[in-house]
Amino acid sequence: MRKAAELRGSSEGFLETDWDTALDCASKALAYIMRRYGPSSIAFTIQVPGTGYMNKGALMRLASLFGWSSMHAYPLNGDLPTFWAPTFGVQSEELETLEYLNSRLILIFGSNFTVTRTMSSRMLILARERGAKIIVVDMNYASVSNIADEFIPINPATDAALALGIVHILIRDKLYNEEFIKTFTDMPLLVRLDTMKRLRAEEVKELSSKAKELKAKIPAYRDLFVSIDKNGRLIIIDPRRLDLIDPVTNERYDPVLEGEYEVELVDGKRIKVKPVFQLLKELVFRDYTPDKVAKIISPKPEWVSKYVNIIERLARDIATLKPVAIIYGASNWQWYNGDLKGRALSLLVALTGNIGRPGSGISTYAGVYKIRWPMWSWWGYDKPLTMIRGTPSMRRPKWLNWSVFLNYEYRQSEEWRKYRSTEVPWPDQGVRALLIQWWNPFDQHNKALILTKKAKRDHPEPLDFIMTTEIQWTTSVEYSDIVLPAAAWFEKYELVSTPIHPYLSITQPAHDPLFDSMPEIWIFKEIAVRTSKIISEEWSDDEVKRILGLSKDELVKMAQMYYPDPDLQRQEDEARRSGRWSLSLARELANKASEKAIEILLEDGRNVTWAEGLNVNLTEGITLEELKKRPVRIKLPTPGNRQIPFWSQINLRVPFPNASFPHPISATGRFVKSGRIEFYKDEDVFIDLGETLPVHKDPFEESLYKWFPEDKGRYMFVYLTENSLYRVHSTHSNNAMMLALQDYQPKIYMNPETADRLGLKTWDYVEVYNRFGRVRGYLITDPSVHPNVIIFVQGWWRRYTDGTHYNSPNYPWIKPTEIIYFTPGVWEVNTKWNNTLVNIRKIES
């Protein structure tokens, strides 16, 4: 516990105390903040739930009880690829790496797979040995290039241009899969040229009455769009099925993909329309000819002609070497226009029919974010009177977006007022408390040092209370008021899965927790009980009802039922009363509660809505006892339980999307109202930005240069915070062995020709800086780095960089397309780590 908030930012002023004192103090602070500012002003994240459904769920359960604001870790970490929701209607999907053995062409766009997916890179090596061609497209010769057949260097953030150049060839030479795009994508949908919106069936004179009838039969989140067949007949596209059957006549039709047509509306007005495919064709024929694209992507003007040939060859490879798998790397989408790149890359697999089949598709591998099924029985909170799992009355946390939290300036802007949906949450009285656990935000997420400023009260929205639950003494601990010691991985039970491999596994206690540390499930149980007690004693009945929506009696009862087996909680209470309580007894009961919670979680997976009209049992036959022996494959609804994205859509013809858990289909189905893969987006913001179809844009024009026009031409280098081989982000930054592997020195990498030009050389002590912040390290010149790029290998805590900070040059940019909906972890503002320009200078001393 810290004696005074003024001492935040150092190891000074901490008082070592016992659990009772620390927990009582924390509970008092939390109750005070809820009473004064409301529960939603307490913000937290559970950082990548896949690494701990049970203990991370324990905090969600606590937050559900009180209504705190959960910041979804997926966009917070920059891991959310924002093209998925508008294109496929999902959070994200990935091919399991075992499927690479079925691929014939693997295209890696900006993903250093051998470093960031070290163990899985074996599958790439095996795939290559079996004859797959591996092509790496990257601004730098990243180490994954070493196990590839071809490395294609391109300028930073120009992948969309390259993809659209390839699309140009695919369309020009008719190398696309016509049947596939007519059946599964929005390519045949008609777009009104007067409004640039997609034509709705109810707007069309001859379809309007039928459309009204059909509308009653489809879910509210769907819409009826229109195509035109070869005979000039207008057809309603049925969002309930993925085939070419006219829902009015039940006859098969063949939609046109090209041309311009005239349609009469209900009001008699005649308008011009074109299929999406036609608009795409016009776009790529106009702006993305191989010549134009080569000029955009080529790092040096003298190589342009080589790139023209490469684009032609890539198009032919993609059209003929099937199946094609695309790996789209996180460092590539963590840009202002990362969504556009993803949408453009998706075109490559959609146009060639490389979706839903073994060894094919586009995959994004970042974060252990994935919730394999809804987990509200443990994560939510039933009222004691109902106790029906998963009922709508269940209490759940509120939500908040990290970039929205950080970016105070944007929330004052006209753009925010214009585009922000009322869905995008912001607590009435702002965020007053930050709970930190399983992460180190003061190093890893401290964009433009905003978090430091909030902690130091040097910000319009200061933080009153910061509490950290940790296994080690991190930088974030030094900014906290209360630090609670948590048990580490093999000192407790945990249920674990990853998005990349469809397996469940558990960790089990290999030994007792060290010192006084405790499993999180116990810590959060104690906070639930103690905070409820304080509230019931100090607040009036009306206050409890108004602020928490519960009676005092309900609140206390619910806190007493925090453990999944309330009897365990009673046993601990009884031991306290009789003086038999000990740390080891509390741990023993917490372990039993953990096992029970895992069983409840497994139970939740037994009946899951996978997609529209498709219910599955994902945990069929999986028991805690079996998991104690070995990892078990999740029962995915595919042959052999293989993880092949959109297998159900392509093979069972179930409409897009798959459910993105824990959300119901209705929350995400609205992103692809046609039930198909959508490349044309007609929400106003897409029209305003000229992004109805995927395009290439300079990522700084609408971010840095728009908000700070004076910075145009001021900063010369793209700043890339590359993942380290030696740690998981900033975890293990203080590990002696990992530090020894790096000479104990943070390093900054730069192309030697660029360094020569600036008069810099290897081992110079340098500072990388911009208007937002700066970081120091030792310069290593390395010809594998693009001439306009500076790389800082991330993870170093501030004490290794002279107090400077590698994420301080970054800024929490918000793109208006990200705030027109809010579905946590699916459609949200994503952190854009790499959308950063910097300069570099030598530090003399």
Partner: protein, 253 residues
């Protein structure tokens, strides 16, 4: 009697260094000492950087360079050892009896591969120095009275003797003044297991086995692939075979 050899296929190495770290963890090597190393093509003056390449952008192919004791058939280190601490077993393993070694370091001079490490100080002190270099600022760093296991250090805690000779012990539990090196995990081999670096190799680039067995994986590979050994002209007859890297990507062709 088997004739053990190791093959390192540089086409399969991803440069991840899992072998280095697993070896160090299992053998209790203090930070900074590695019995096997993997470096990308070196840039002059940079030690242990995690990315490095040569050439001019974008033509910058990288070659992983592995170093490990070659367990030579004609080992100069054995010949120069004045006390018989370094010896060669019939199956080819070159080992050091830690109880016999007097720390004269003749073996280090004799070894042309630079794979031996002298313990200039007690390894525990090396570890303490390394921990100090982490610049921990925790004011409540665990005192001795609070450590769950006061004597705990990482590394295999069990010693192993080969016919009475102490050939395997966590280096962190050894004292200064002796020479150490890779044992090819003798205690594992004698149980029928593979060396730990082979077991953990992500790309399956390291292969270990009996060259006298024509059906072994190593025999099969060496019968059909071109492999080289380091400094063969010195006549040391090393038992580590390298398959040279030839599968670099094409760039702008």
């Amino acid at each position: 009697m088997p004739r053990y050899v190791m093959i390192i296929d540089l086409n399969k190495c991803t440069g991840c260094r899992t072998c280095m770290v697993a070896c160090a963890m299992k053998n209790g090597l203090p930070p900074g000492i590695f019995w096997t190393t993997v470096e990308w093509t070196p840039i002059a003056g940079v030690i242990q950087a995690d990315r490095r390449s040569t050439g001019n952008y974008p033509y910058t192919p990288m070659t992983p360079v592995h170093n490990i004791c070659n367990h030579c058939d004609n080992p100069p280190c054995v010949k120069v050892c004045p006390v018989g601490a370094t010896y060669k077993r019939e199956d080819g393993l070159v080992l050091i009896d830690y109880e016999r070694c007097i720390g004269c370091r003749y073996c280090m001079s004799a070894c042309p591969y630079g794979v031996r490490t002298f313990l200039w100080e007690d390894p525990e002190k090396t570890l303490e120095d390394a921990i100090r270099r982490t610049r921990s600022s925790n004011p409540y760093k665990a005192g001795e009275n609070k450590m769950a296991e006061p004597d705990y250090v990482y590394g295999d805690p069990v010693e192993y003797r080969d016919k009475g000779r102490l050939v395997h012990k966590s280096v962190l539990r050894l004292k200064r003044g002796i020479v150490t090196k890779c044992t090819w995990c003798v205690e594992r081999i004698d149980k029928g297991l593979k060396p730990v670096c082979v077991e953990v190799c992500v790309g399956r680039a390291r292969i270990f086995g009996d060259l006298d067995d024509p059906n072994s994986e190593v025999s099969q590979i060496l019968s059909r692939k071109n492999a080289v050994r380091r400094l063969e002209h010195l006549g040391t007859e090393p038992r580590v075979y390298y398959i040279p890297k030839t599968n670099w990507p094409k760039v702008l062709e």
